[in-house]
C-alpha cells in the first residue's frame, strides 16, 4: 500500500480544527459549543456515554450535517457548508456505526468504489471500456489488491458483502475507506459487536495504518481498553458538551469523566 498523497501540513501540526461547533435539530441540541483539534498523524479518540453527540460530531466533520453555529477548518480551509462529496474529495474518509456497505456488490467492487475519486478518465472511454479507461481500471485494481492483502480478506474477494459476518463487513468497510487514500480517517465504533480476536485484528490494522502511512485517525469507541491503548489524545463529550480533552492518562483521572461514566451520588 502506498502512503496518501503528500500535503503541505507537517506531522504534529493541526490538520482539522473544530471551533465552537453547535448543532441543533429543532429544539434538540445535539452539540453545544464544542471545540477541539486533530493533529496530523495522531490517533484521536472521541468518547462519551450513549447519546453524547459523538456520531453527530463525525457527521459534521464529513459534511452529512452542517453545524448550526461555529466552524470546522480542514487543511487551513473553512467551508461553511461542506458537502459530503467535497469532504471526500478533500481527503476525509469514514466508516459507519451500523456498517454502510454496498450489500449486493462483491468485496472487490466495494473497495473499488472507494477509488471513484481517484479515477478520472472521461465518460467517453468509460462507455467504450477501452484504452485509457481500461489501463486505469487495471492500475486501481492493483492498489485495491494491496489493500485486500493488507486486511487479510483475500478469501472473500468475490463474495457479496451482504453475506459476510459482521466482523468481516467492518473490515471491508475499513478497506473501502483506505482505498480513498485519506488524509483523515474517521472511524465510528470500528470494534462494535466484535469478539476479542476480531477486536485485536482491528486494533492491529488501525495501528498499522497510523504507523506505516501516517494517516490521521479520529475514532469513536466504547471499549475503554482499546481507546486507552490506541489513542494519542482523547476528547470526551457528554450531552453534547465537551467535558475533557487530553492524553488517555489525563482523561482517565478527570473527575468530570469519572462522574459522566459512573454517575454522581445524589
Amino acid at each position: 500500500m502506498r502512503a496518501p498523497s503528500p500535503t503541505d501540513i507537517a506531522a504534529g501540526e493541526v490538520i482539522l480544527a473544530v471551533e465552537n461547533v453547535s448543532l441543533a435539530f429543532g429544539g434538540v441540541k445535539a452539540l453545544t459549543d464544542v471545540s477541539f483539534d486533530i493533529k496530523k498523524g495522531e490517533v484521536r479518540a472521541i468518547i462519551g456515554p450513549n447519546g453524547a453527540g459523538k456520531t453527530s460530531m463525525l457527521n459534521c466533520i464529513n459534511g452529512f450535517y452542517h453545524p448550526t453555529e461555529g466552524r470546522i477548518t480542514f487543511r487551513g480551509k473553512t467551508r461553511p457548508k461542506m458537502r459530503p462529496y467535497e469532504a471526500a474529495a478533500g481527503g476525509i474518509a469514514r466508516t459507519f456505526q451500523n456498517v454502510a456497505l454496498f450489500k449486493g456488490m462483491s468485496t472487490l467492487d466495494n473497495i473499488m468504489a472507494g477509488r471513484t475519486l481517484k479515477m478520472n478518465k472521461g465518460f467517453f472511454w468509460q462507455v467504450l471500456r477501452h484504452g485509457p479507461a481500461m489501463a486505469e481500471e487495471i492500475e486501481h485494481r492493483h492498489f485495491v489488491e494491496e489493500i485486500i492483502d493488507f486486511l487479510e480478506i483475500q478469501h472473500i474477494r468475490k463474495v457479496p458483502v451482504g453475506k459476510l459476518p459482521y466482523g468481516l463487513q467492518k473490515r471491508v468497510e475499513l478497506g473501502r475507506a483506505l482505498a480513498m487514500q485519506p488524509e483523515v480517517l474517521l472511524l465510528d465504533e470500528p470494534m462494535a459487536g466484535m469478539n476479542l480476536e476480531e477486536k485485536e485484528d482491528m486494533c492491529r490494522f488501525i495501528l498499522d495504518v497510523s504507523n506505516q502511512y501516517g494517516t490521521t485517525i479520529a475514532l469513536i469507541e466504547h471499549d475503554m481498553g482499546v481507546v486507552m491503548d490506541l489513542s494519542d489524545r482523547v476528547v470526551v463529550l457528554e450531552y453534547g458538551r465537551k467535558i475533557a480533552d487530553g492524553t488517555p492518562d489525563e482523561v482517565k483521572r478527570d473527575q468530570a469523566v469519572i462522574d459522566a461514566y459512573l454517575g454522581v451520588p445524589h
Binding site: 474529495a89 456488490m105 479515477m119 468509460q126 471500456r129 486505469e136
Partner: protein, 372 residues
C-alpha cells in the same frame, strides 16, 4: 478399504430430486400422450388433444410457420427487452419504478419528428439523412435537458424520502409530460421518419425447411440495434467506474456519499441513459405503427418482463423480454384459436404470474440477502 467406502453414500439431495422431476415430468407426459393418441383413447375432438397434442403436431408438420412465429416472437422480445431496460436502469440507480418511462418513449419520438418537421418544413433544409441526423441530435439534447430537469426539480428535493413518494413523483412526471407533449406537438398521431433515418424498409423471403418465411428488414435492423444497445449498456454498468458508482448509489446513499460519489451526477447519467433508450424504443416501435400518445401503453408490456427478469438485472430484462415475446407469439398462433384469438394481450401477464410462483425475485433478480 478406504474411507470413502466406509461412509454411507448420502441419498439424492432435494435439489437433485427436483431437477430430475423437472426433466422427467415433461418426458413422461409426452410418452403418455403419444401412447394415448396412438391407441385411439383420445381423438382430435377431445379438449386434451386440442390443447396438449394438436399444437405440437402442427409445429412439427409445418416447420416454416413455426420458424416465422419464433422470429416474430424474437423481434417482439428484443423490443420488450428494450423497454424493460429503461425501467431497470432507473430502478437500479434510485430504487424507483419510473412510471414515466412509457411517456418518455412517446416524448422522445415526438421530439425527433418535431425537430425534423421544423428543419425540413420551416428552415427548408432538404429532407433526408442529414436533416434526420440533426433532428436525432436535437432529440438527444431534449432528453439530456429532461434528465437534468428531473434531477433538479424532482429527485433532489426528494432525497431520502420513502420509495412510494418517488413513485408518485414519477406518476406526476408522466402527467406533466403528456400535457406538455400535447401542447408542444399536438395530439395527432405522427409518422416516424423511418427512411430518412436510414432504416431499411421492405422485406425478403428466406428459404427454410418446409417452405419460406417472410422477414421485414426493419425487424432485422431493430433486433440488431436493440441487441447492440443492450449489450453495451450491460457491460458499461457492470464493469466501469460509473457503473460501479451507479450500483453503489442503489445500495446505500450515505455510503456512496462518503466515498465521494456525487448522487446528482449519477442520477443525471442514469436518466439520460434511460432517455436514450426511450428514444431508440420510440423510433423502433414508432416505425412499426405510428407515433401517438397511445404508444405509452407499451410500457405496461414491460411489467411482465420485469417481473420475470427481476427489476435489477439487465440480463434478466433480455431473457425476460425474449421469453415473453416468444411465448406470446407461440401462444397466440397455436393456442389462441381455441379461445377465439386475441390472447396475446393478457398471456404475458399469465406467463409472468406462473414464474412468480416459483421465483419471487425474478429469474435474475438480486438474491434477497438478509442476515438475521
Amino acid at each position: 478399504m478406504t474411507d470413502a467406502t466406509l461412509t454411507a453414500k448420502p441419498a439424492l439431495s432435494p435439489q437433485q430430486i427436483r431437477r430430475i422431476a423437472w426433466i422427467a415430468g415433461p418426458v413422461l407426459l409426452v410418452i403418455v400422450l403419444t401412447l394415448l393418441t396412438r391407441s385411439g383413447a383420445i381423438g382430435p375432438s377431445d379438449w386434451t388433444y386440442k390443447i396438449l397434442v394438436d399444437p405440437f403436431v402442427t409445429m412439427w408438420s409445418l416447420p416454416d410457420l413455426l420458424i416465422q412465429t419464433l422470429w416474430e416472437g424474437f423481434v417482439a422480445g428484443v423490443l420488450y427487452a428494450l423497454i424493460a431496460l429503461g425501467f431497470v436502469l432507473i430502478f437500479k440507480a434510485s430504487g424507483v419504478f419510473n412510471f414515466a418511462q412509457g411517456i418518455m418513449v412517446v416524448f422522445a419520438a415526438l421530439s425527433l419528428i418535431g425537430f425534423y418537421e421544423i428543419l425540413v418544413g420551416r428552415l427548408g433544409i432538404p429532407a433526408g439523412y442529414a436533416a434526420a441526423m440533426v433532428a436525432l441530435i436535437g432529440a438527444l439534447g431534449i432528453m439530456l435537458l429532461l434528465a437534468v430537469a428531473v434531477e433538479r426539480i424532482v429527485l433532489r428535493p426528494l432525497v431520502n424520502q420513502p420509495d412510494i413518494i418517488m413513485l408518485m413523483a414519477t406518476v406526476g412526471l408522466s402527467f406533466f409530460l403528456t400535457g406538455f407533449g400535447e401542447l408542444a406537438f399536438g395530439g395527432n398521431p405522427k409518422v416516424m421518419i423511418t427512411s430518412a433515418l436510414g432504416l431499411p424498409t421492405g422485406s425478403s423471403s428466406i428459404d427454410v425447411p418446409g417452405g419460406r418465411i417472410n422477414v421485414q428488414h426493419l425487424d432485422v435492423a431493430a433486433a440488431v440495434i436493440a441487441t447492440i444497445l443492450i449489450v453495451s449498456l450491460g457491460i458499461f454498468f457492470q464493469k466501469t467506474r460509473i457503473g460501479r458508482a451507479l450500483r453503489a448509489v442503489a445500495d446505500s446513499h450515505k455510503a456512496a456519499l462518503s466515498v465521494g460519489i456525487s448522487l446528482n451526477q449519477i442520477w443525471i447519467i442514469v436518466w439520460f441513459t434511460a432517455g436514450i433508450v426511450a428514444l431508440v424504443t420510440g423510433i423502433m416501435w414508432g416505425a412499426r405503427s405510428e407515433v401517438s400518445f397511445a404508444l405509452e401503453v407499451i410500457a405496461l408490456k414491460a411489467l411482465p418482463v420485469l417481473v420475470l427478469g427481476g427489476f435489477t438485472s439487465i440480463p434478466g430484462a433480455i431473457v425476460g423480454g425474449l421469453i415473453i415475446g416468444i411465448g406470446e407469439k407461440l401462444g397466440e398462433f397455436y393456442w389462441g384459436p381455441l379461445m377465439g384469438g386475441g390472447i396475446e394481450t393478457w398471456l404475458a401477464y399469465i406467463i409472468a404470474l406462473v414464474f412468480l410462483l416459483f421465483r419471487p425475485q425474478g429469474l435474475f433478480g438480486e438474491k434477497i440477502i438478509e442476515r438475521i
